[in-house]
């Protein structure tokens, strides 16, 4: 914020004019020694400045980047094929050569934990991406136009809210014969969009009252342009924050559904499935629960922490 004030002070050249008389005198024009162009500040660049020095954000960024790289290029972390298993190694405990030990099928557990990141991250990002798109489209219509359309959408989300995510997921997924990446993502999008929609709708409601929206209308901008250029950039912040937190929640939900046996199915490699497979042998082979659980917790923690840090940085009142 201090840069903001400096910029204000430097640009304040107009107050040196003479007092009002019948004749308005020519204004004083002196060169402005403002910050050079490009060194300007905006909400996001201010936020970035704050985030760069926030340990919370740096830790979360590290975790998130780690898991994203893991999802994209698991080969960087392990050269072992997670599907190359040998029953002779079944349930072997962690050792110096195989840090995470082996599962029931005798597959290398470290490799499986690494490869498990891919599906979790993909589901998290896909679900939140689609939910956010739905939320922005419906929230724009609902918040900007209001009227009966708003009432219909609002009541619909109310009803949707009454369905608990996991229970709803169990019911819908157990009706579907095949349960892969698309089915699980679909169900989580279906169950996850109402919160985001409400968030974006209320944000639109407050932004549309701003003078710059009226000014844009007064200067001939179309509704579509107003929604895209004026409302969206100013109203999206809470959704971004919520999305970061929700990716973690969705990853956990996928794991929970897989654990309950209605999520992904073998031979898919996912942390949820690994934890599910560990449940009957917890005392016998605790490492089966420990490692995927640890990865899952760290990923969820990373996203939620990032959401928190973003909220702190983007909320101007918090500064």
């Amino acid at each position: 914020m201090s840069d903001f004030r400096q910029a204000e002070a430097v640009t304040e050249t107009e107050t040196v004019a003479p007092p009002v008389t019948e004749e308005v005198e020519e204004e004083v024009q002196k060169p402005i020694e403002g910050p050079p162009p490009g060194a300007t500040t905006s909400l996001w660049s201010d936020a970035w400045k704050e985030l760069r020095t926030s340990p919370l954000f740096l830790v979360s960024l590290g975790l998130v980047v780690l898991f994203i790289v893991m999802a994209i290029a698991p080969q960087l972390f392990t050269s072992t094929d997670p599907r190359a298993c040998s029953l002779s190694n079944s349930l072997e405990r962690p050792s110096s050569e195989h840090w995470f030990g082996f599962d029931l099928q005798g597959c290398d557990y470290y490799a499986r934990s690494i490869y498990g990141a891919r599906i979790s991250m993909a589901i998290g990002v896909t679900v939140i991406g689609f939910a956010a798109i739905l939320a922005v489209i419906l929230g724009s219509i609902s918040g900007y136009y209001g009227g009966w359309l708003d009432s219909v959408i609002a009541r619909l989300t109310d009803i949707w809210f009454a369905i608990p995510t996991i229970l709803g997921g169990i019911v819908i997924l157990s009706l579907l014969g095949e349960r892969g990446f698309f089915q699980v993502s679909f169900v989580l999008v279906i169950l996850g969009w109402p919160t985001m929609l409400r968030l974006y709708r209320s944000s639109v409601l407050s932004v549309k009252e701003m003078d710059y929206v009226e000014a844009a209308r007064a200067l001939g901008a179309s509704d579509f342009r107003i929604l895209l250029k004026h409302i969206l950039p100013n109203a999206i912040t809470p959704v971004i924050i919520y999305a970061a937190i929700s990716i973690g929640v969705i990853i956990a939900a996928e794991a929970a559904l897989s654990f309950l046996g209605v999520g992904l199915q073998l031979p898919a490699i996912s942390w949820g499935l690994m934890i599910s497979g560990a449940q009957t042998r917890i005392l016998q082979a605790p490492h089966l629960l420990l490692f995927p659980g640890l990865f899952l917790s760290l990923a969820v923690f990373g996203f939620i922490l990032m959401g928190d840090a973003l909220r702190d940085a983007l909320d101007p009142k918090g500064r």
Partner: protein, 348 residues
């Protein structure tokens, strides 16, 4: 959103049959009401005025008198619901704007008529550079290319006398001082050379010194372009300085109309007179200012008859029964008072 679509809306307003001899802007018996939960508020109740080329007209009044609403109605930016235009016309060169479909109205805004606002900081989008926002006017209405639009934005900033326009074009609104923001807003409004500019309290949020500069800038730009300007204000000093004609509004109606000189020489409505008496002037030094007694009426429960009668020193029995129409007093001036002549000649 293809540029062809935009150009076609632009050409669609070019096809409208403008009558070059008709007044630039003519507002006729405009009625605007807001239907709220508490009841119907008649924000404009038969507002009539006209504006010529190169002319500056002031609409003066307290907050809640309906002056901004009348401008919004003319621009077509009243939120509906709760606002409804129930009657009247706003003719631009003979074409009734209120009867046009929304896409033609939209093409009108910015192109033929533009508006600037009281608080330029909140009227500029905080997330975009000032130059981008000005350039946007060209891109959305004319489909101008990015680099060309930017060049025009710099020219405009220069025209509204923002120093070092080339560097300033990349600043964000919060990096501008209050006066510069208003200049930027004016630049945006003037981008497409509108024929009518509505300035809604353009200087209220500014320092007195900056106020004068902005008013001078507006007057200069008007002289350059010959546009008609409606200045909405409650500042009588500004009215006296820059406007040709003035309309005084009270409770959604115009109560007095005339040239600025006439009105300042002698007010023919007790409300205008009250406004004049409540300004401080050097001649009155040492004497007390005379405020208008009472407070502005609740628009939901307007007094019967003349809405000003409970506060009026001239009020007689007839005033609480009969609503005085806006009468022509000759010499282009009008007053909505039963006793306009007595008020004007000071016969009390």
């Amino acid at each position: 959103m293809a540029t062809e679509a935009k150009e076609s809306t632009k050409s669609s307003i070019e096809e409208l049959e403008f009558n070059p001899h008709a007044p630039l802007l003519e507002v006729d018996d405009l009625h605007v009401e807001f239907r709220t939960r508490a009841g119907v508020v008649k924000a404009n109740d038969g507002v009539t005025y006209s504006l010529g080329e190169g002319e500056t007209m002031a609409i003066v009044g307290e907050s809640g008198s309906g002056k901004t609403v009348s401008a919004q109605a003319v621009m077509g930016i009243i939120d509906s619901p709760p606002g409804y235009i129930t009657k009247g016309a706003a003719r631009f060169r003979g074409v009734d704007l209120l009867a046009l479909p929304e896409d033609e109205r939209r093409a009108f805004r910015g192109e033929k008529m533009a508006m600037i606002f009281q608080d330029a900081l909140s009227a500029l989008n905080p997330l975009f550079r000032v130059g981008w926002q000005i350039a946007e006017m060209y891109r959305q209405h004319r489909g101008t290319s990015k680099t060309e639009a930017r060049k025009k934005a710099i020219e405009l900033l220069d025209r509204v006398r923002i120093p070092a326009a080339k560097e300033r074009v990349d600043s964000y609104p919060h990096e501008f001082s209050g006066g510069m923001r208003q200049r930027a807003m004016i630049a945006m409004a003037l981008a497409l050379d509108p024929e009518v500019l509505i300035a809604d309290e353009p200087t209220t949020a500014l320092d007195v010194t900056v106020q004068a500069q902005i008013m001078k800038l507006l007057a200069d730009l008007q002289a350059e372009t010959g546009m008609g300007m409606i200045l909405i204000t409650h500042d009588l000093a500004v009215v006296a300085e820059v406007t040709d004609r003035a309309a005084v509004m009270y409770a959604g109606r115009i109560v007095e109309q005339g040239t600025t000189k006439q009105i300042f020489r002698a007010s023919y409505h007790p409300y205008t007179l009250g406004l004049m008496n409540s300004i401080a002037s050097p001649e009155q030094k040492g004497t007390k200012l005379i405020p208008i007694p009472g407070s502005p009426p609740d628009l939901l429960h307007l007094p019967s008859g003349c809405p000003f009668h409970p506060r009026c020193v001239y009020a007689q029995d007839i005033c609480s029964v009969d609503r005085p129409p806006l009468r022509d007093l000759g010499d282009n001036r009008k007053s909505a008072c039963h006793f306009a002549e007595e008020v004007g000649t000071g016969a009390k």
